[in-house]
Amino acid sequence: MKNVFLIISLMLAVDSFAASKMKGKVSIDGSSTVFPITEAVAEEFRAEYPRVRVNIGVSGTGGGFKKFTTGEIDINNASRSIKDKEIEKAKENKIDYAIIAVAYDGITVVINNKNTWAKNMTKNDLRRLWDAGSKIKTWKQLNPAWPDRKIKLYGPGTDSGTFDYFTKAINGKSGKCRFDFMKSEDDNVLVSGVAGDIDAIGFFGYAYYKENKTKLQAVAIDGVAPDMKTINNGNYKPLSRPIFIYVNKASYKRAEVKAFVDFYINKASSLVSEVGYVPLTDELYKEQFKKF
């Protein structure tokens, strides 16, 4: 019995010794939405594999895919799925990849704290408000019981994955939207915009709402408000979305990339909620390993 313990502890020691000795480089780029998660993983990973150099850039999901499909980076942080054009490019360059879901994000529709009427909206309300060519200017036009004042719209820039997803889920087609709204690439600008105007309505990732709960309120969609639970079990519809990392399969054959990705999937559950996103179920995380 003693020997067994000795052997096990020896094996563990050898294992962690190997980890601390492992060298190499993991290059990552992509979305600013996924960045906080990958950063947290890299930070923890460094403690166990101090000699592996992990570096993360933030050039947006699209910018990341440009580098990913030419093989310049090992992993792309993606807040949307890969587009047809990008798939073609990957094929051209013979890049084979695995799509790993790492968390859920719930796009949150927010209103001012003093807004007492629009706490609950239907998907149809949102579509009538945001659809391309929408004529809705006042709250009253949306619902006769609501005040006859001008609605002020706020949203993320049209290049962002959040904008793509919102327009697809609400208006049926990615990018189909009215364009007379206040745009900002910086979600904090949207937060202060909506927080300072009683007639404002806007949308952005759940993490920004979670940090600003005292300044804003979230709109329940068809009666379901976004929180960790409703986003995770899919009741918050249609605005909860998975976010991904795309892993180059050729890179995954390198020991340091494999170590990093495996570490990512194993630790995601706890790290994801720490940085304000919603983790998948444990079974779903296990399934991600089968994709290689």
Binding site: T38, E39, I56, G57, E72, D187, V275
Partner: protein, 286 residues
């Protein structure tokens, strides 16, 4: 007669007040900005802040990678852009090319100074990162920034060289000096203070750039300092930008702390340059 004299004096007074007021106004804006940044950021300034790697916890996050990245990047940029910029200016001024070619070069340089920085980023990505195969290294970044600030150095150096009185050149020639001796022994030392002013302005611009560096693929998270010019890097402005756009408000204060560090790095750089300039201008007395 006396009336005219009085009105002239009045105009003089008004003009003086206007100049003073406007100067005061621009200084006031700077003071307000500095005050605001210091008030929000000073609590986060500590030794750990300067020596820690980026982190998801605001109290653990540090700016070491950014500081070293910025120092490396700006040093390499200076090594590339100053010689090329100053020598180009000397060539254009002292070895004048006559005719159309000279005009074309002149117009081109002036136009380059006005090209948006993101365009240089795209150029750097295509040429240095992809074509030359330097990847997203310090070298690619420094070369891109060099392209960006070279026109500024060339234009300001030319002005400084133009300001050197011809009498100096003629005097040297009369004593039998060659062109090389005239240029390096006389024109350059006299023009040096002016050239250095241009260099300071150009490098100060380079130190705050983010757009072209994002394009060529500078990083946001990195937990090692560069060891050679071929290593990846991040810079202070990128780190600050990342913190300022995060959901957690504490990171916004960290961003303010980062700005203070960036200002300190920039000011100490300028300080060194000003010292060199003063020594240079003391040596040469016209």
């Amino acid at each position: 007669m006396i009336d005219k004299f009085k009105s002239r004096k009045r105009t003089e007074k008004i003009f003086r007040a206007a100049c003073f007021g406007l100067t005061f106004f621009s200084v006031l804006i700077l003071v307000v900005l500095l005050f605001h940044i210091t008030m929000t950021g000073h609590k986060y300034l500590s030794w750990e802040f300067l020596t820690n790697w980026p982190s998801r916890f605001p109290h653990k996050a540090g700016i070491k990678a950014g500081i070293w990245g910025t120092i490396w990047l700006i040093s390499i940029t200076a090594c590339i852009s100053i010689p090329i910029g100053v020598l180009s200016a000397l060539f254009l001024e002292e070895y004048k090319i006559r005719g159309k070619l000279g005009k074309v070069i002149e117009i081109n340089v002036a136009n380059l100074a006005g090209v948006p920085s993101i365009v240089y980023g795209l150029l750097g990505l295509t040429i240095f990162v992809r074509y030359c195969g330097f990847d997203r290294s310090l070298l690619s970044g420094a070369m891109t920034l060099s392209l960006l600030i070279m026109p500024v150095i060339i234009v300001s150096s030319r002005e400084a060289i133009k300001a050197v009185p011809d009498a100096i050149r003629f005097g040297a020639y009369a004593l039998g000096a060659s062109k090389y001796q005239v240029v390096f022994g006389h024109v350059l030392p006299i023009a040096l203070p002016g050239i250095l002013t241009g260099v300071i302005l150009a490098l100060s611009r380079a130190i705050g750039e983010t757009a072209p560096l994002i394009i060529i693929g500078a990083l946001t998270y990195i937990s090692y300092t560069p060891e050679s010019v071929m290593d990846e890097f991040t810079v202070l402005p990128l780190q600050i930008y990342n913190w300022a756009s995060r959901p957690n408000e504490e990171f916004h204060y960290l961003a303010a702390g980062g700005i203070i560090v960036l200002l300190a790095v920039m000011m100490s750089m300028n300080f060194i340059a000003v010292m060199i300039r003063q020594r240079a201008s003391k040596k040469v007395k016209l």
